[in-house]
């Protein structure tokens, strides 16, 4: 079957099997920035925004996204046009192996979009679905704090 959706501001029509997850369909079609760490909805590496809501794409059936809007980490910012949060993540050492980073960025972006000045406990709650083994989370939490303060200072939204 075919489905149509909008991904990173582009309309796409993709062929898929009805039992395939959104993660599989995205990765099979070149959106490999969405990572698979467990395929069980427990690590957050495959996090994408689905109609502005952060979801583990391995837990979403692809056929359910008909006419919906998806944003991956590349929709938040690219190598040549990175988002502020991405720049701060890289500058803070919040990325080591980088495998969790796409999901972490999506989670952080989603958190800061809804709440530009989260408390520490709100940050921890916001990142609780995303596993990282390299950093011990310390520099990731620091990057979210820094992003928040820069956003507030510049009086802008996480866009």
């Amino acid at each position: 079957m075919k489905i149509s959706f909008n991904i990173n501001n582009q309309n796409r029509e993709l062929e898929l099997n009805p039992n395939q997850t959104l993660l599989t369909v995205l990765r099979n079609n070149g959106f490999t920035e969405v990572k698979c760490g467990c395929n069980e909805g427990e690590c957050g590496a495959c996090l994408v925004l689905l109609d502005d809501k952060a979801v583990n794409s391995c837990q979403v059936l692809a056929m359910s996204v008909q006419n919906k809007k998806i944003k991956t980490v590349k929709g938040i910012g690219t190598l040549h046009n990175p988002n502020l949060i991405q720049k701060i993540f890289a500058g803070t050492g919040a990325d080591q192996c980088g495998f969790c980073s796409p999901g972490m960025i999506v989670a952080s972006y989603s958190l800061l979009k809804e709440n530009s000045s989260p408390s520490d406990s709100e940050i921890l709650e916001g990142l609780d679905g995303n596993l990282c083994r390299c950093t011990g989370y310390i520099k990731i939490i620091e990057a979210v704090r820094r992003s928040s303060s820069v956003l507030l200072k510049n009086n802008v939204e996480a866009e």
Binding site: G37, K74, Q86, F89, C97, G98, C100, L127, G136, I140
Partner: protein, 781 residues
Amino acid sequence: MFKYIKKPIEKIDGLALVTGNEKYTDDFYFENMLHISILHSGYAHAKIEDIDDSTALRMPGVVDVLSYKNVKQILYTTAGQGYPEPSPYDTVLFGNVMRFVGDNVCAVAAETKEIADSALKKIKVKYKRLKPILHFEESENSKIIIHKDDGAFPKIPVYYDASKNLAAKVEAEVGNFEEAFQNSENKIEQTFFTQYASHCALEPHAAVSYIDTRGRLVIISTTQVPFHVRRIVSHIAEIPISKIRVIKPRIGGGFGGKQEVLLEPIVALVTWKTKRPAKLVYSRKEVFKSSRTRHEYRTIFKVGFQKDGKINAMHLDALENSGAYGSHALTVLSNAGSKTLPLLNKIENLKFTGKGVYTNLPCGGAYRGYGATEAYFGFGQVVDMVCEASGNDIIEYYKKWAIKSGETSPIFKALGEGKEGVAMTVTSTSLNECLEVGARESGWYEKKKLYGVNSTLNKNNRYKRGIGMADLMQGSAIPEIDMASAYIKMNDDGSFNLNVGATDLGTGSDTILAQIASEVLDTPVDKFIVTSSDTDFTPFDTGAYASSTTYLSGQAVLKCAKQIKEQILKVGAEMLGVSLDEVDILDSNVVVKPSSNNENKGEVSYQDICSYSFYQNNQFQIQAAVSHVSPKSPPPFAVHFVEIEVDTFTGIIKVLNYVATVDCGTPINTTLAEGQAEGAIVNGISYALFENYYFSNHGKMLNDTFGKYGMYTAADIPPIKVHLIDSYEETGPFGAKSISEININGALPAIANAFYNATGKRLYKAPFSPEYVLKILKSNP
């Protein structure tokens, strides 16, 4: 003093990582690619009498099935170590004896992953079940022989006895332990246990292969050891090394788990046979069950000491559960002794005995800490016990008895890795300062007064607080065994290619190595195009393990960059018309030294120098290739302090604060060094309190998902502060030693010591689960 060293320089791949632009192994898709799925044994011990794959092979889309029936039975070790490996050759890719739940039965290659997965269900395997060994303490004397008549053998001349289920045995003694122990006024004899753990690198193991335009096999793999992969695949698949290229793309974390050659031979065989690209990616469950783990350990410490606390004799006896195969069995075992016993180097009578035994449980392997984690749990506690018994302040005790600059330990020579070790003198340490700063920053002395079993704060209180510490050392590379090399060439805009076999697996070593070259050549880090690692294009490096990359590969880069500098200076002097001793480099230029009497005070840029060397006169490529082997393995040191609160009703231990002081020599990149320490500490706490493998009565791992396994999430972490306290190691690049492993070793002993401070009881078995803590609280002291 430094321009590019000891700076928080952003990772050169940082932006590419956080924008999802970098490619990992599973991100490579090829036309016409086959997908592979593995059938794993559901039995802990069984003989396969027959495999019927006929139904599976008839399924549309199924291309091939690999099993013992059509795969040559070639013995090897999955351990990616220097050759010949110190691990026994006891593994075949697909054999007919299953030795643990998760062992390889067969592989299906199909047009899609879905077809491969469904074909697995159509394969009929006739097993003859054998009795398994599921408790490692029973292995040596068991009638069940796990590697029986399979030809398993040691590749190097070391003790190995499959008939006793012994994968490894190590013994070393300095002085006369038994006599000194018997003559000691005070004695401690205590047994400790540490548990299985998974590395939990977020990226699962994966390998992709294809045939290139000239018929060679190319393997892209999640490996820490690309050159070992090439050699081992050549051995198993019987393809010449010259026909194999191994590429390491970005790696999503390793921690030792990717120092194993598990998937590469399988994709290699499929591609070599079918001439089609092939991909194999482990599921998370497969990573937990079928890849490698931290070994389960029992350590028995015997310590004889005087009334004043002086230790006369120490014996560490280690029993290692090697699991079904002996990957890293010998070397992890040796490290349990060699990374702990030298710390208190003034003990005159030291003994280490260790055995690695086979069981029908998942295989151990390399895991950050590598034996030291397992042994420091007991070591850190027995030192605390000696101090408690003798009335010594443990900070002052370590200051007095720990190894110092200019000192050695006979253990360095007595305990090597499959052969005699290398004698060495410690020449860099800031351990005393680490102890002092850590005590100050953690509020050690104030809290020692405030807490304690009988303190007003703790007595009759449900919540009891305590503080504990642990002193640690590790190594930096394997001396006279590990080798690293680097290649640098100059480009005509003044940039450089830096090609290294060193394997950045997320550690940031590409950046660190570029910083080292930057410092030598006085040119910015972004002038270096770093390639790591590709067996066709980068020179040999043993790989990213044994805390070696910064120290060993870094020194290779330093030496290589110095040769480049000489060449640049020579061309620069020629261009400026002055003699070589009149020039120096400055900020990407060759300049006439201010001290020179030469009137020509000109300068030439790196860009002009390279352009000149390409096109103008005496043309040549400015380039150098250099190798490096280290004569020693200088230990980094660390001191960890932890404050905890024990809920005596629930048995839950809450970590309130964690302070670590770390001597890694010169931290080349301060942010990355802190990141290494922080990640290791959190992994260490998570291991001490939660992580474990729970098995069914038949040896099946029960908690094989992230959710059930329970590694720490962001919401779990306590306040953690890392202080880097430099020393200067002359044999390392700009004074650097290692930092990657050491900090995983502190949480177990430090938390256990804090628990003693809070409750007066000791924890002998990890993890410190609420059930175990309650049991200990109810026990007699």
